[in-house]
Amino acid sequence: MKEKSIKFGKNVVTTEEFVAEGHSFCVGCGEALALRLACKALGKDVVVANATGCIEICTSPLPVTSWRVPWIHTLFENTAATVSGIEAGLKILMKKGKMPEKDIKCVAVAGDGGTSDIGIQALSGAFERNHDFLYLCFDNEAYMNTGIQRSSATPYGASTTTAPAGKLSIGQTTWKKNMPEIAVAHNIPYVATACPGYPFDLMNKVKKGGKVRGPAYVHIFSPCPTGWRHASDLAVEIGRLAVETGVFPLYEVENGRYRLNIDRSKLRPVEEYLKTQGRFRHLLDEEIAKIQEHVNDEYAKLKAKVACFAA
């Protein structure tokens, strides 16, 4: 970690921890870092609903818990529905005078599988019903908790245990599902992408999403040393590379208006990102070129949206 690149100011970030140490995340987990930062940005007046997955499993083995804020896990695919009930419940109890008025943010936490695969119906429903909640998708691009199985968020060319690279396959043969854009399509007030490699940007977006009245969605790119086959000290660097190559651009959509938060005049070659990870090491030049072309196209599309609907 390059210490001088980290901005630090007294009272900028709370020293209070809301997810206690002693959890069982893998060494160097990008998701654990992102979660810690997100919770610091939100503070203590939250109720968190967590989908089944790495975060849930690593923080809650009975009879102990890492959570210092109210937290609930029920199932895998229903987190947006559970948080709908929490939000509606708190609101009506306050309205009926059955509990004191308080600004409590309802937060859903899920992985990419729990969001873009099995949980997408419940999430779409909760968006459409306009519940006042913040949904955080921690995207480590596969089912990591069950052992690196492919999801619809797995990128093209990545090798996973259920879409392995082999003599006849490059691994994942489909492009990553664009979940942030699916969220945008619901016309919700706030959508953003974030990455723990940019901690202040991440915390600002989570904070902003938490203040929105109505649904907010923050899609957090979460490097996974175990699943991506990279060294355990590289999560931050790989996250930054994903942004700098245009693989995972950082942007916000506020009330339909786009803003690119990191806009490099020239993107770094995607190969620099791919070569850091074992999951891509089987890729030949022609596949890398194909990925580069796709990244260029997607980035151009995003820039066009920014130009068309600037914040």
């Binding site: 203590k44 007046d45 939250v46 109720v47 609903a49 849930e56 499993i57 809650s60 083995p61 009975l62 009879p63 102990v64 818990t65 959570w67 210092r68 804020v69 109210p70 937290w71 609930i72 896990h73 029920t74 199932l75 695919e77 229903n78 947006a80 529905a81 559970t82 948080v83 709908s84 009930g85 929490i86 939000e87 509606a88 419940g89 708190l90 609101k91 009506i92 109890l93 309205k95 009926k96 059955k98 509990m99 308080k102 409590i104 119906q121 419940a122 779409s124 429903g125 459409e128 019903r129």
Partner: protein
């Protein structure tokens, strides 16, 4: 002053939820349950009920939203039927295991395929072992009474368990009958405000739904089973309190002209009322018959069932569900196992009928009684027989 009105069973259940002042309703429309959420949505829209109505996108989300609402301490209600109950199946287990006292009406419906929106008990049997208190209604009055009672029992701090109030799809859900509605003060006297002791609140952070590693899962599940069985005391107390206030007393097992009868018919749900007429006709001919109907399905009322059966020689059990490849109708196999340890147990005969909305007329129940006695006299190797179904099924052997 209470008032007597004509009310469909579905609307009676909705009225009970209103008088219980529910905080959150989350429901998805499915025939034959629709009249319940429709009526509640209307009440909320008209300001007759101060509640949050969440029009979810599926039954899975309906019960999931109920989990969230109950977890923050809201009085929570939903209703479903058949396929809807199947879709929410995994959530049904979570509700009881996490001890959320949600009340759910189930308008009992057959299961696909072939698609059938009509009534039977297939949906009930699929959730038999989910750890919910399950009670059956026979008429619209009971739909009102037992919905109210369900909140009282489920929310009791000694219980904290969800309750399913079953009534037969169409045969009861869509039937208008006279219902006595109490005054709000009487309801408030019976049903105290829900104070959930473990509500999720930032002022006192708690963790709900941590996962159970092998060194703790077994103890957690056994503790749930112990608590579930103990709920029976509160169930009985709830019936007594209800009767003392409203004048209608309910029992875990209801007996009708059953005392001293040699042959007993056993039913569950609204068909019991048709069966009563068959019993009256048989009695008028001097036959020694009676009816018992199970009101409480879970936790199973073993003691009360044995008492109700008494010294009967023949017990004919009528099921509205098939247990494919199993020992007969699912109710009959429960009954057989409940009576197995008894020294003087009756011969138990299993009948299956009334599937997917097929009606059971009075004469069908008369046939069941006659044929049941004949089976016992002559003996039969069939595990069950059918009633009201075209064609004779034989060769169903254990």
């Amino acid at each position: 002053m209470s008032r007597r009105v004509g009310l469909e069973a579905s609307l009676a259940a909705a009225e009970a939820a209103r008088m219980a002042d529910v905080d959150v309703i989350a429901a998805y429309p499915i025939t034959p349950q629709t009249h319940i959420p429709e009526r509640l949505a209307e009440m909320v829209a008209d300001g007759e009920l101060n509640a949050a109505y969440i029009p979810v996108e599926s039954e899975h989300s309906a019960l999931s939203a109920c989990l969230g609402a109950a977890a923050v301490g809201a009085r929570t209600f939903t209703a479903t039927a058949g396929q809807g109950l199947e879709l929410m199946h995994e959530v049904v287990y979570v509700a009881s295991s996490m001890r959320y006292p949600i009340v759910m009406t189930v308008c009992n419906r057959a299961l696909s395929a072939p698609l059938s929106v009509w009534g039977d008990h297939s949906d009930v049997m699929a959730v038999r072992d989910t750890g919910w208190i399950q009670i059956f209604c026979q008429n619209s009055q009971e739909a009102f009474d037992l919905t109210l009672w369900a909140f009282r029992v489920g929310e009791d701090s000694r219980v904290l368990l969800p309750v399913m109030v079953h009534f037969d799809g169409f045969h009861l859900s869509h039937v208008t009958e006279p219902v006595v509605l109490p005054e709000q003060e009487e309801v408030d006297g019976f049903l105290p405000r829900f104070r959930y002791p473990f509500a999720l609140n930032p002022d006192k952070p708690m963790t709900h739904g941590a996962f159970g590693p092998p060194d703790i899962y077994s103890e957690a599940k056994i503790a749930q089973e112990v608590a579930f069985r103990k709920s029976k005391d509160v169930i009985i107390q709830g019936f007594k309190e209800f009767g003392d206030i409203f004048g209608r007393y309910y029992h875990l097992v209801e007996s009708y002209r059953a005392e001293g009868a040699k042959t007993l018919l056993l039913t569950m749900g609204s068909f019991s009322e048709t069966a009563k007429i068959a019993i009256d006709l048989k009695k008028s001919k001097g036959e020694s018959v009676g009816l018992i109907s199970l009101r409480l399905w879970r936790p199973f009322p073993f003691e009360e069932l044995r008492q109700a059966v008494g010294n009967a020689e023949t017990l004919i059990v009528f099921d509205r569900c098939i247990s494919f490849g199993g020992p007969g109708g699912p109710v009959s196999s429960e009954i057989k196992s409940a009576l197995y340890s008894e020294k003087n147990r009756p011969e138990v005969v299993s009948f299956i009928g009334g599937l997917g909305g097929r009606d059971m007329a009075v004469e069908d129940f008369e046939y069941v009684i006659e044929r049941g006695r004949e089976i016992v006299e002559k003996g039969s190797k069939e595990l069950f027989e059918t009633v009201g179904i075209r064609g004779k099924v034989t060769g169903i052997r254990g």
